[in-house]
């Protein structure tokens, strides 16, 4: 049985409420943290090796240590709860079922960073979760964990929940800051980074919900203990949100030592593919990361077993690997159409582009139009090369990573499933009546040569 740090108490009835949470050891991390100095907490987080769980995987302790501390200027912790990456719904689970774990993490992190006013920026659609969080915050405050002079430490802290308006781009930290200021979610040009000039031009740290929750076990058990779990630079546990064609979709906590094959097929996790179907492809880290055919997903190009951690998933780079991303694990069985799925994602990125940078604004719409043509039997062979060309011209040429996020799924789909695109073009009528099927994608012998 894998180690569970975040979801250990998830199935206890009433854990959503303060009394039950406290009875099961809740808020011990706050008690412990307030006996430490803020710098000591930052050190523990550094030692833990915790990497940002929103998708980028940047070391959290290092991010915290970048926070500027000019005299007399308030600084803020802003929690990114704008979970919008297709395939990702882990933060929702944490907030909905373990709100006190999240609030506890926020209090410890706010203390470490010196944030007297901390904001949770939650995606607007999670409207009912706002009530759950506000209740948890009120309970924490009523029990003396928030407010003025917490535990006699002299430290004051308030946490507020702010709803967004339904824009994927606001998951990008500078767009989130703009939105929190009551503006359109247009990402800012960096530098300056939020750690120097963030919300209202004050030093700001933006962290994902799961990252903040992970601070609780790090403080309880110590950073070194946390770092012992996992492998290499993938320390601790990671939440995976699984969807698509698996028997048991949902949220799983893994310690990053299990293989991808075990994760998909074992009963402890996804339970395999339903209806006796075979695995065709998978996007393991949220819709932006490269899709892999089954053969490359289960084994690397070198033929080694692929594991569920940052390093192993990215083994082979984008040529034959993918990314851990946000942990949104999307599984596709043999009946699914990669062209149609890619078209759906292209529509998503086109819809969500903020419109600031022309490569992304124009490119995402162009890619969607071409993919729609191919999917509906009106594509040309040259369209496939055109798609490749467009995605290359978006990647790296925009202010924020949304451009890359829109380019990568298209690039990976063409890289690994080009014959399926060609089949659509060559068989416009047949492609309207059936899907391409599994073809050779599950065949481990057929590993494409890295290009």
């Amino acid at each position: 049985m894998a180690v569970k740090l975040l979801l250990e108490h998830a199935h206890i009835e009433g854990i959503r409420y303060y009394d039950t949470y406290r009875k099961h050891g809740g808020y011990r991390a706050v008690e412990k943290a307030f006996k430490m100095t803020p710098d000591e907490i930052v050190e523990e987080v550094k030692k833990s090796g915790l990497r940002g769980r929103g998708g980028a995987g940047f070391p959290t302790g290092m991010k915290w240590s970048f926070l500027a501390k000019p005299e007399g200027v308030p600084r803020h912790l802003v929690c990114n709860a704008d979970e919008s990456e297709p395939g990702t719904f882990k933060d929702r689970y944490l907030m909905e079922f373990l709100p006190h774990l999240f609030v506890e993490g926020l209090i410890v992190s706010s203390f470490a960073l010196g944030s007297n006013t901390t904001y949770i920026y939650i995606r607007g659609e999670y409207a009912w979760i706002v009530d759950i969080l506000e209740q948890a915050i009120a309970e924490a405050k009523a029990n003396g964990w928030l407010g003025k002079n917490i535990l006699g430490s002299g430290f004051d802290c308030e946490i507020y929940v702010q709803r967004g308006g339904g824009a994927y781009i606001c998951g990008e930290e500078t767009a989130l800051i703009e939105s929190l200021e009551g503006k359109r979610g247009n990402p800012r040009i960096k530098p300056p980074f939020p750690a120097i000039q963030g919300v209202w031009m004050r030093p700001t740290v933006v962290n994902n919900v799961e990252t903040i929750a992970a601070v609780v076990p790090i403080i309880n058990n110590g950073g070194e203990e946390y770092a012992k779990i996992g492998v290499g630079k993938s320390t601790g546990t990671k939440l995976l949100s699984v969807c698509g064609n698996v028997k048991k979709p949902g949220i799983y906590e893994i310690d990053m030592t299990c293989s991808v094959e075990e994760f998909i097929y074992s009963d402890e996790y996804c339970g395999g593919i339903p209806n006796g179907k075979r695995l065709k492809a998978c996007i393991p880290g949220g819709s932006s990361v490269p899709i892999l055919p089954a053969n490359l997903l289960l084994k690397t190009a070198k033929g080694e077993t692929r594991y569920m951690n940052y390093e192993s998933l990215s083994d082979g780079g984008f040529a034959t690997g993918t990314m851990m991303g946000s942990g949104g694990f999307i599984v596709m069985d043999e009946d699914q159409c990669v062209v149609r799925h890619t078209m759906s994602l292209a529509r998503f990125y086109n819809h969500e582009s903020c419109g600031q940078c022309s490569p992304c604004r124009e490119g995402t719409g162009w890619m969607y139009k071409i993919l729609k043509n191919i999917e509906y039997g009106k594509g040309k062979m040259s369209d496939i090369d055109l798609l490749w060309d467009i995605q290359r011209k978006i990647e790296g040429n925009t202010i924020c990573p949304l451009g890359d996020a829109a380019a990568w799924p298209v690039a990976a789909a063409i890289r690994h499933f080009r014959d399926e695109f060609e089949w659509h073009v060559l068989n416009p009528e047949e492609s309207q009546t059936r899907n391409y099927g599994l073809a050779h994608y599950a065949d481990p012998i057929h590993v494409p040569v890295a290009s």
């Binding site: 308030p74 979970e83 919008s84 990456e85 297709p86 395939g87 990702t88 719904f89 929702r92 006013t117 995606r123 607007g124 659609e125 999670y126 409207a127 009912w128 308030e158 507020y160 702010q162 709803r163 967004g164 308006g165 339904g166 824009a167 994927y168 939105s179 929190l180 200021e181 009551g182 503006k183 359109r184 979610g185 209202w200 949100s241 699984v242 969807c243 698509g244 064609n245 979709p249 949902g250 949220i251 996007i283 819709s287 949104g328 999307i330 596709m332 699914q336 149609r340 799925h341 759906s344 994602l345 529509r347 998503f348 819809h351 969500e352 903020c354």
Partner: protein
């Protein structure tokens, strides 16, 4: 409908503004737009946006540019019940296209349209973060997950009977 929050809502507005540093009251704009949309018939017309601008002491254009950016704000009238059906990749893998087609056929409307009786609007949405419980839709404040045609029938039925909870 008169464009004026109740006393209770106005107190809430002041409480929201107090969450931000002095002079940064504009930060309350998105929460206020949500409140206005809920209060004033499910969409934001120009007088409603101007009212929000006045409450926050900002220019109306600052409100318009935000209201037009975020997809949750409806800038034209919608039905009493808005079916926001997710159609992004993971939902699509689980048959969201069939659900959308079924709703279109059942209610005899196209995407983005409202039924003649003003009861239902179909608004296809992009990923709502319920991928493991697909297909799904947002209905007011809540999610309806694991949709099937039968479940859609039940939802429509409950809306017609006026027993559906959306706030």
């Amino acid at each position: 409908m008169s464009i004026q929050f109740s006393k209770e809502k106005l107190d809430k507005v002041q409480e929201m503004i107090a969450r931000y540093p002095e002079g940064k009251q504009k930060s309350a704009l998105i929460p206020l737009l949500h409140m206005a949309q809920d209060e004033f018939g499910g969409w934001l017309d120009v007088p409603a946006m101007d009212y929000v601008a006045q409450l926050l002491q900002i220019q109306p254009i600052e409100v318009y540019e935000v209201a037009t950016f975020y997809t949750m704000f409806n800038l034209k009238p919608v039905g009493k019940y808005v079916f926001e059906v997710c159609r992004t990749g993971p939902c699509m893998l689980n048959g969201s296209d069939d659900i959308i087609d079924y709703i279109k056929e059942k209610l005899n409307i196209k995407e983005g349209e409202t039924t003649e009786d003003g009861m239902f609007t179909l608004k296809p949405a992009e990923c709502l973060g319920a991928c493991g419980y697909a297909p799904m839709m947002q209905l007011g404040k809540y999610y309806k997950e694991h949709l099937t045609k039968e479940k859609v029938d039940r939802i429509i039925d409950e809306c017609r009977k006026g027993v559906m909870v959306t706030k």
